[in-house]
């Protein structure tokens, strides 16, 4: 999964980065709110880990901005030395999904990250089939049907379709798609490949108003699938 971290102390950021990378997450660290907000505007992530006390905006201000101004509901964990009950309540009320008091330890942080990510997909196993009328996606057979009729997709196109339908309404960056579908280690694939596959998928699924779903390109950022009135 892709995790964006906002932590101004480079020693803590580096340690957290190593922990989460070892747990097979892809990690993007930022030392100040401005840089973090720029990153989440141009890219997409599965989880945010936010420090509270920062040199510019506080982690709470960043969270409020994400939730209230940017409509970004990516799960977020506040990691801070503030351990009073009032602070914990403030963090959760601002939109945090979990709250972790510093000093953090590897096992607990990794477990909390996994728990929040599990909750964010509604505790559904990755292998579960998915219905998005008039489409249905069968994980077992790796097929997508439109109004009950099976469509002819490659495995990669199926994975891409499944990923989009699991992230309805959320902008998914090209890099995020590359990591999720082609694998984080695959350096031989460029974002152009993503564009080609998305274009082919759009045609094969016949995505458009007539079927109630559109897959929009977000200029210089990525793609978003949304339901529309047919």
């Amino acid at each position: 999964m892709r995790v964006a971290i906002l932590e101004d102390d480079p020693d803590q950021a580096e340690l957290i980065r190593l922990w989460l990378t070892h747990a097979e997450h892809s990690v993007d660290c930022h030392a100040d709110a401005a840089s973090f907000l720029r990153a989440v505007r141009r890219d997409s992530f599965d989880l945010y880990v936010l420090d509270w006390v920062l040199p510019d905006l506080s982690g709470i201000d960043v969270l409020k901005k994400l939730r209230r101004e940017m409509g970004d509901y990516t799960p977020a964990i506040i990691v801070t030395a503030k351990d009073e009950e009032q602070s914990i309540v403030r963090g959760l009320e601002a939109g945090a999904d979990d709250y972790l008091v510093k000093p953090v330890r590897q096992a607990e942080l990794v477990a909390r990250v996994s728990a929040v990510l599990r909750r964010s997909v509604g505790n559904k196993p990755e292998e579960q089939d998915l219905d998005a009328e008039p489409y249905s996606l069968s994980f077992t057979n790796k097929t997508v049907s439109l109004n009950g009729e099976k469509l002819n997709l490659t495995n990669r196109e199926f994975e891409l379709a499944l990923f989009f339908f699991r992230n309805i309404g959320k902008m998914m960056s090209r890099n995020h798609l590359l990591e999720a579908i082609w694998g984080i280690e695959n350096k031989s694939v460029s974002t152009r490949t993503v564009d080609t596959h998305v274009s082919r998928l759009r045609k094969k699924l016949n995505l458009g108003k007539e079927n109630g779903w559109i897959l929009s390109a977000i200029y210089q950022h990525g793609y978003r699938i949304e339901r529309v009135d047919a």
């Binding site: 102390d9 020693d11 580096e14 190593l18 030395a81 590897q106």
Partner: protein
């Protein structure tokens, strides 16, 4: 500073062990930063440095650095210069005597 029986403090977390050299070098830089901040009565820098020491120390397996960090934060909030001077001495002493494995 060593652990019980004069043995070096063992850094259990393999990732922290990998970064500990740089971490301790940065803490030595903190001593200079704290001393200059105290000279300038810049209590905010002392508070932030203490805050970061508190957050990072135990994560790196060095609980004493976290405790000192918390004390720096408290002393900075109280603008207690003599206490900050004493804490700088304690941190210096701790880092000078520290042996890790």
């Amino acid at each position: 500073m060593t652990g019980e029986n004069g043995k070096p403090i063992e850094i259990a977390d393999p990732f922290a062990r990998r970064l500990i050299g740089k971490y301790l070098s940065n803490r030595k830089d903190d001593i200079g930063k704290l001393t200059r901040a105290l000279d300038d009565a810049d209590f905010e820098t002392i508070r932030v440095t203490g805050h970061n020491l508190y957050g990072s120390g135990a994560a790196y397996g060095l609980d004493q650095i976290s405790w000192l960090g918390a004390d720096f934060e408290k002393a900075a909030d109280a603008r207690n210069a003599p206490e900050i001077e004493r804490l700088i001495g304690e941190l210096t002493d701790f880092l000078d005597k520290l042996r890790v494995s």
